[in-house]
């Protein structure tokens, strides 16, 4: 009966298109906004690769990426007192021109050059130039993306606060956003330039990777100020935050889609009223109540589905805009198959729920009355 349903909804072409448009906008919003959540998820997942096998220590209750925490040398001493640790790497972050919703223009990361591998990974190759050498001062290394964006190369200078740093190297593309978009500086240099005596994060590398969880617990036991997170723990927390963003973005889109669902209901109520007689005929010639119900539901589901498919297309287009507006290029919004499927199923659900009342009304029509309805 699908062909019949299609023919029926196309009898009122304009009305059907307008109704589908209501669904389209809602599903478009769900998909476009949801793509941000997926983009954040991808970014966070790549960030987590950085911390594999490490313990990330931050001040308790500091922001997720250690933006606001303040760690001191005393904290370092506490950690040093715990056994089984191979390396302790303090890290300072400096964010240039923080813009709400978009993040900083760029981020400088202060790290001891001899321990740089713990941030950029052991296998990272240089695109051009070299890494910062031990004891070297006044130089920076750029991530691939940031070097491209500012069109700078080895030999140029980079200004942090008031000081100029010579660019000695560019790291090859890693696809890990935290590396590709950062500027790596000697830890002491960045502390001086930013006039800080505290820093936001300490990486702790255990002697034996199997001890990671235990050492993290020991750190937290040793100091009330410190929050020691393993990759597993960070993944869990990040997952929670991404899920919250997912729910939030879905909720916004769902409200819009719900309005579209009301439109479907309205359209189907009108269609049933207009076609009373016809429904009476269907019943007179032997259609059961269930058939009439299914017929109307198929029609409303079809309208919603057309809207849903259009919405996914709109969402994909929208996700490109979203990428350029939010996250300052750090977040690449992605429409995952799961997200598209969610949009489509939600559209279908709206069609069925919105169509149910009119369909039920149609199925209960008394054929004798409906047949003689003028």
């Amino acid at each position: 009966m699908l062909d019949l349903a299609y023919k029926n909804i196309m009898r009122q072409r304009t009305r059907t298109i307008l109704t589908a448009l209501g669904i389209l906008i809602g599903i478009g919003a769900i998909v476009a906004l949801g793509s941000i959540a997926e983009g954040i998820d991808t970014m966070v997942q790549s960030g987590l690769e950085l911390t594999a096998g490490k313990i990330t220590v931050m001040e308790k209750d500091a922001g997720f990426f250690g933006v606001m925490g303040e760690l001191t040398d005393e904290d370092m001493e506490v950690i040093e007192g715990i056994g089984g640790i191979r390396e302790i790497v303090p890290m300072l972050f400096y964010m240039e021109n923080m813009i709400p919703m978009q993040g900083p223009e760029w981020t400088a990361i202060g790290i001891d050059p001899s321990k740089g591998e713990y941030f950029i990974g052991e296998n990272a190759e240089m695109e051009d130039g070299r890494m910062i050498e031990e004891g070297e001062s006044g130089v920076v290394v750029l991530g691939y993306t940031i070097a491209n964006r500012y069109n700078t190369e080895v030999g140029d200078f980079w200004t942090i606060k008031e000081d100029d740093f010579e660019i000695v190297g560019v790291i090859e593309k890693t696809d890990i956003s935290d590396i590709d978009t950062s500027i790596i500086v000697d830890f002491d240099d960045l502390m001086d330039v930013t006039d800080s005596d505290t820093y936001q994060m300490i990486y702790v590398i255990p002697d034996d990777i199997k001890d990671t969880e235990r050492i993290a617990e020991n750190i937290e036991d040793a100091s009330e100020r410190l929050d020691a997170m393993t990759t597993k723990e960070m993944a869990r927390q990040a997952g929670e935050i991404v899920d919250q963003i997912r729910i939030f973005t879905f909720a916004i889109g769902a409200i819009a889609a719900l309005v579209g669902g009301l439109g479907v209901m309205n359209t189907m109520i009108m269609a049933v009223m207009e076609r009373r007689r016809e429904i009476g005929v269907m019943k007179a010639i032997g259609a059961t109540n269930r058939m009439v119900l299914t017929q109307i539901l198929t029609e409303s589901a079809l309208i919603s589905l057309i809207g849903g498919i259009g919405g996914i297309i709109l969402g994909v287009i929208g996700s490109f805009f979203v990428s350029s507006i939010f996250g300052g290029g750090q977040i690449t919004a992605v429409v995952t198959p799961m997200l598209a499927l969610t949009g489509l199923l939600f559209a279908l659900l709206l069609g069925v729920v919105g169509g149910f009342y009119p369909a039920r009304k149609a199925s209960k029509l008394d054929p004798v009355e409906a047949l003689r309805y003028e």
């Binding site: 009898r11 016809e278 005929v281 019943k283 010639i285 032997g286």
Partner: protein, 225 residues
């Protein structure tokens, strides 16, 4: 096989039962209709003709009494089972034709077969054959608004025959047609009755019916006279 295609025993139909505007439309009516007969139900407006036809056609349940269609007692049947009786045993033809205007003549005739779940290929073939039988072989792909009244009524008759019913019921089938076209429709019904042994029951004001029907049932105030 029972001798009578339809038996109605002691049927009463009361609308708005128990209310101030209670209407006693059919009163203790008894009726037997032979297989293959051509029956005309006549009477002034308000005499209960249409209500009787609705009850015999399983569109309406009597308030009391029993109706047997082709040996099946219909009183105890639910909506679904009644729909199946209408689908399989009865074909309807209405004064207003009641075709679905967005569908071609062919699709209209196919509709009861699609409702019955007949395979698409078979329903198409039968619909084509039926439209040729009623003389519309050339207009199968026209939609009702592009057909004349007489042609629309022929489509409706073809549709009523789709599932090979036992009974064709017509509610004023000539009521909207001019006299010549009306006669053609009555001729067609007569031919179906004679050649294919369909039981025909029509409610009508058309006086010419006397020449066609084997039996005239006269109603007055809800009773057969």
């Amino acid at each position: 096989m029972t001798k009578n295609i339809i038996e109605a025993m002691n049927i009463n139909k009361i609308f708005n039962l128990g209310m101030e505007n209670e209407l006693h439309i059919l009163k203790d009516m008894n009726l037997e209709i032979d297989r293959g007969s051509f029956i005309a139900i006549v009477g002034p407006s308000g005499s209960g003709k249409t209500t009787l036809l609705d009850i015999l056609g399983c569109l309406l349940k009597p308030t009391s009494g029993e109706v047997l269609i082709d040996g099946v007692i219909t009183n105890e049947l639910n909506d679904n089972e009644l729909a199946h009786i209408r689908r399989d045993k009865i074909g309807f033809v209405f004064q207003q034709y009641n075709l679905i205007s967005s569908q071609t003549a062919l699709e209209n005739v196919e509709l009861p077969m699609r409702i019955a779940g007949v395979h698409r290929k078979d329903s198409r073939r039968r619909a084509e054959k039926l439209l040729r039988t009623v003389g519309l072989g050339e207009r199968m792909y026209h939609r009702p608004p592009h057909l004349s009244g007489g042609e629309q009524q022929r489509v409706a008759i073809a549709r009523s025959l789709a599932n090979r019913p036992r009974i064709i019921m017509g509610d004023e089938p000539t009521g909207n047609l001019d006299s010549k076209t009306g006669k053609d429709i009555l001729d067609l019904l007569k031919r179906l009755n004679k050649e294919e042994n369909y039981t025909i029951i029509v409610v009508t004001h058309d006086l010419r019916i006397k020449k066609y029907a084997k039996r005239i049932i006269n109603l007055r105030d809800g009773r057969i006279i």
